[in-house]
Every structure is written in structure tokens, then in C-alpha cells.
Amino acid sequence: MSDLFDLPFEEEPAEPEPERPPAPPPVVRRILSVTELTVRVRDLLESQFFEVWIEGELSNCRSSNGHLYFKLKDSQAQLQGFMFRSTLRYLRFKPADGMHVVARGKITVYEPRGEYQLVCEHLEPHGLGALQLAFDQLKKRLQAEGLFDAARKRPLPALPRKIGIVTSLDGAAIRDIIKVLQRRHPNAHLVIRPSRVQGEDAAPDIATGLRAISRVPGVDVVIVGRGGGSIEDLWAFNEERVARAIARMPMPVISAVGHETDTTIADFVADVRAPTPSAAAELVVARKDEFWAHIDRLRDRGHAAVQRRVQMASRRAHLVGGRPAFAGFAGRLAMRARFAGELAHALARLGRAAVAVRERRVQTADRQLATFDVGRRLAGIRVRLVSADGRLTAGAHRRHARADARLRQTIGRLESLSPLAVLGRGYAVCWNADRTRVVRDAATVAPGDGVHVKLARGELECDVRAAKDS
């Protein structure tokens, strides 16, 4: 080994000492905490999938604290989803397992579990419109509760005292209603509760309006509605709170929403459904028309029945008068004559009343005509009204005259049977001793009893010698 050290130092150009290969740069072991990584993944996902639309099938739907948890899946994969209570309440249908939906939201990571998930901001049924589904679901539910039952439907009041109306003051609906009511029921008393009928606030506004108007004393029928529009425009009338407000009303409600083709939930719950606001107004006043006619019919029938009764009585009087034992009826005949007198008064009064009523109607019609603007429809309507009024008045007079004639006949017949006339034909009336009753049966007197016998002129006081049964 020493040799080595003794070797002469060779004069060789010293080779530059090869440099040591540079140490490979030390691997920077950047160690992340789980949280840090998760945050990075989350940031990445959230920025990449800030707003996505995903289509899939709902499964494992469950709610907790009002939030909704679900899975969205297709045949190959699944995605965890979540929806906050605050956004959930804007949904118009109830998500359920198996439903094919389209969801909108962002992807985020649920850090505690390291799971990525969809925070869903909107959910709608795929295919079927969300509104339609909401409508079907609510309809089914309320129907199951019995809110549409025919048994719940109340009849409209015969004669509304005050007509409540919940609608917008801006639309054509309120003008249509007022126009119809003023034309057909000029003395109607309307109470209008203005309400929004479109947009987010409409449903609560309508519900509040209904409650408010139900507290106004005297309001005994309510019209709620608006003019026609798209299904979105009419949507407030498909909202559950409006349906429930209608169901809770203490008086009958007429729904009047838009056109005939759209039936809203409100229409199903209401006591009566009118296709349009004008039709609702006509339904209310149609009742008045009906009652005019109804009362008149009743009165005419009563009139006829009493006349028949009087004629029957007078025929019986004839029959009785022809029988030998008629005498006991003399008093009753007298009474009937008096009734006939009263009847004459009653009928005459009635006839006058009937004519007066019709005259009032003609006046009302005249007033209505006067308030019409002389527009396009006027001529035809006036012609119809005038001829109708003519018929009414003429009819009343004719009937009055007929009644009078028949009454005079009846009275004449009764007079011919008055007790004096009968006695004048040679018959007599026999009273018991104290004149408390007419003697009709020989068995009711005994020999020795006193009786009074009334003749056409004068009276006999008699003692009974014998009483024989005939």
C-alpha cells in the first residue's frame, strides 16, 4: 500500500476532478391533510360543475328536518343528491322514488364523508310538465280528503243579501261581473275584496281575501276568479292554500276562472263552478229570476186550489139543499156565504197585487232599459223586453178578469142557497130549547122538550109530543 504513496507524482495534467453528479433534487413531499385535499377536490368540482342539469331516476328519497335527500341514478351509475328545505318548498310536486326527473344544481363535496353530491336547486318531472304533475297530485290528494264531494256542495242562496267578490280590480273580470249584475239585478249589493290573481303572491292574497270577505256580515255567496290566461297565469287557482281557503268558507263559493277548457283545483273545490266571471254573475242573479217565476207559480196554484175548494163547497151546498134533511145546514150555508165574501176580498186584493207586481217588473225593465247605452245589441233586446212585458201585463189582466168572473159566479150560486132563500121555499130550521144547536136527529129530543122552529118569517116555540125515528 505504501508503494502507492511513493509513486512519483506524475506530471499529468490533472484531470479536473469530475464533479459529483448533482444530488437529485430532493423529492418535495408535500403532504396534504385529508381536509386540504378534500377542499381542493371540492373547489375543483364546484368550479367545474357550477351548474349542471342531470337526468335520472329518483331513489331513496327521504326527508330530514325538511331537507330532502335522494339518489339520482341510471343503469350505470348513481349520484347522491340533496335539496334544502328552502328550495324544496318551491317545488310544485312531491318527489318520489321511481320518478324520472331532471335536476339542476351544482356538484359539491360533503367533506365529512368525502362524498361528492349534487346540491339540487330545481327538480322537475321529466316529460310531464311540473305544473301538470303538481296539479294531478294535489287534485288526487284533495279528492281523497273528500274536498270535491258532491255532498259538500252547498246550494246558492235563494236571494243573496250581499255578493262577495274576490278578484283583481284591474282585470276585465270585475267589470264583467258588475256589468252583468247591474243589468240583471239592479239592486244587488256587492262587496269586492281586491286581490292579486297572478304571480307568486296571488295565492296567499286570494286565500286572505276569501277569509276577510267571509267575515263581512250579510255576505252569503262569494265569487272568486279572474279572466282567462295561460295555465301559468291561472296557477294561483291551482294552489293548495286557495283550495283550502275555499273549502273553509262558511258560505257557498262560485269559482270563475278563465276559459271553459281549464278546470282549476279551485273549480273542483268550489260549490259551483262558473266557466267565466260573467257566467258566475249570471248564476247568482238567475236565482232571482227563478224565484220571481216560482213565487208567481205558487200563488197561481194556491189561487186555483182555493177556487176549486169554494166550488166544491158550493156544489155540496146544492146537493144538501135538495135533501129533506137540509135544514141543519142552514147555519153553515150562512157561514159559507160569509166566507165567500171574505174570499171575494182576498181574491180581489190578490189580483191587484199580482197586477201591481207585474207593473213593478215592467218599471224595473224600463229602468234597466234606460241605463243601457244605446249600443249595438240594444234594439233587439228592447223589442224582446217590450213584447215580454206586454205579454206579462196582458196575462195578469186576463187572469184577474177570469178570477173575478168565476168568483161572481160562485157567490151568485151561494146566494141562491142563502138560508132565507131556502126557508122561503117552505123549509124550517129546528133549534133545541136553548138555541145551542140545530136539531138534526129525532133521537136527540125527548117528549116534553121545548124546540124553536124558525120559518121564513117568524118563529114557533113548540113542545115535543113524540120523537120518532124515521
Binding site: L298, F339, R349
Partner: protein, 82 residues
């Protein structure tokens, strides 16, 4: 027009109906018929007067629950649109 024997319009109609029915059945004495008939006349007069008696009025129920007369513009037909 406040006949204490008549409760309201609907009751009056109902009573009138039953009176007419009884009259038509015809097994009443003449006296009873006439009494009922008189009552019927009273009832039908009441009904007619009630039909005419309602007050013509249009009111607005505002958010504070107060009733105010409706603006005249609401009731008036807007000037012919055609």
C-alpha cells in the same frame, strides 16, 4: 215589512210551498183553506218585496278590513270600445 211571523226569504218560500201543497191536496175545510190562502198571499207579498228590497251598492273591502264605496269608474261601463 217586518212581519214577525216570517223568518226570512227562504223560510217564506218554503212555507208558501207547503201551503200550496196543502191547498191542492184539498182535504181542508173551506175555512182552513181560506186561512191558509190568506197566509199564502202575505208570504208571496213578502217574497216580492224582499226581491226588490236589496240595497244597490258596490263596496270595496280594503286590507284593513274597512268597507269603502267603490270608485265610480268601476261600476261605470267604460266608454264604448268599439
Amino acid at each position: 215589512m217586518s212581519d214577525p211571523s216570517i223568518k226570512d226569504f227562504e223560510a217564506a218560500i218554503a212555507e208558501l210551498e207547503s201551503i200550496v201543497k196543502k191547498l191542492e191536496e184539498g182535504d181542508l175545510s173551506l175555512e182552513q183553506s181560506l186561512e191558509l190562502y190568506e197566509r199564502g198571499v202575505t208570504l208571496s207579498r213578502y217574497c216580492h218585496s224582499r226581491l226588490e228590497a236589496a240595497e244597490k251598492r258596490i263596496e270595496i273591502l280594503n286590507e284593513r278590513g274597512e268597507l269603502k264605496p267603490a270608485p265610480a269608474s268601476l261600476a261605470a261601463d267604460p266608454p264604448s270600445r268599439g
